[in-house]
């Protein structure tokens, strides 16, 4: 594993700059195909609203994947991720016209042994926190 970020150069409290990830319906269709999760709440608006949802919603795992991407883009090597967990606190609603965005930021929450650090993530969409207790443990260089 060859993370490009050095453990000694990272401090608790250090912030990782926010990034914005656009989401459109086509992304959810692609994600359904790639993941095998074809629940129609993620691509069929009539179905989604019939079961009480405001509109089509993104797969939770799609949102989690964007958080993963945020971390692995920072750390350099995706193989450096030791642990990654999230709670899905609100839905990412994806309207037909123009889709939506997920904004993700991070902060170094803790430094552990063996060059590992804990990155706490914040993810927001449509004015809501869509992930809480989102943390990735990564091994730095």
């Amino acid at each position: 594993m060859t993370a490009t970020v050095k453990y000694d150069e990272v401090e608790v409290g250090q912030e990782l700059p926010a990034k914005t990830y656009p989401v459109e319906r086509i992304d959810l269709v692609k994600y359904a195909g790639a993941s095998g999760d074809f629940n129609p709440i993620h691509w069929n608006e009539a179905f989604a609203t019939s079961v009480g949802l405001p509109d089509v919603i993104a797969h939770g795992m799609f949102t989690m994947a964007q958080g993963g991407r945020f971390v692995t883009d920072w750390v350099g090597d995706p193989g450096a991720v030791l642990d990654y967990g999230v709670r899905f606190s609100s839905m990412v609603v994806v309207p037909n016209d123009g889709g939506t965005e997920i904004e993700i930021s991070g902060v170094i929450e803790d430094k552990l042994d063996d060059n590992a650090v804990v990155v706490a993530l914040t993810a927001r969409s449509g004015g809501q926190k869509v992930l809480t207790r989102a943390k990735a443990t990564v091994r730095l260089a």
Binding site: G33, A34, S35, G36, D77, P78, G79, D83, M91, A136
Partner: protein, 145 residues
């Protein structure tokens, strides 16, 4: 609808072996919009110390989904009302192209939260040679009608 508590502790048999391929990793990386070359280019992956292209951190969901049959009518899960509550992966190492793995899932718990039902599923992903690669913890919520 209340889920059948008899399923608490239910262990499912190991899934059929799943072969992690370069093409599937690329498809998944494309679907999440991630252009990292370590998911796409075997040389870039080797330069980073991996035997072949590796899978994104959330890729094991593809395998863990196959490890449990939550469609058993006896469980009483209404799939249309299911949303994902929590997800966690503990990695021993990244999955890479060429891995042949199986998933073994256990229903760790079922409980009510207000009008919703919460089901905790734990899935251990192991190579067919017995190497533990990843453990996935999955919480699904069945929304109350």
């Amino acid at each position: 609808m209340a889920l059948n508590r008899d399923f608490i502790g239910r262990a499912f048999p190991p899934s059929e072996p799943y072969e992690v391929t370069r093409l599937k990793i690329r498809e998944f990386a494309d679907a999440i919009g991630d252009l990292n070359p370590i998911y796409r280019d075997p040389e870039a992956a080797k330069a980073a110390g991996h035997p072949d292209v590796i899978a994104p951190p959330t890729f094991p969901i593809v395998i863990s989904i196959s490890g449990a049959s939550l469609t058993d009518p006896e469980l009483g899960l209404n799939y249309a009302m299911v949303v994902h509550g929590e997800q966690r992966f503990e990695y021993r190492r990244p999955l890479h192209a060429g891995d042949l793995v199986t998933a073994e899932s256990t229903i760790a718990g079922i409980r009510s939260i207000g009008r919703n039902e919460r089901l905790d599923l734990q899935t251990v992903i192991t190579t067919v040679d017995g190497e533990h690669v990843c453990t996935a913890h999955n919480v699904i919520i069945e929304r109350g009608a």
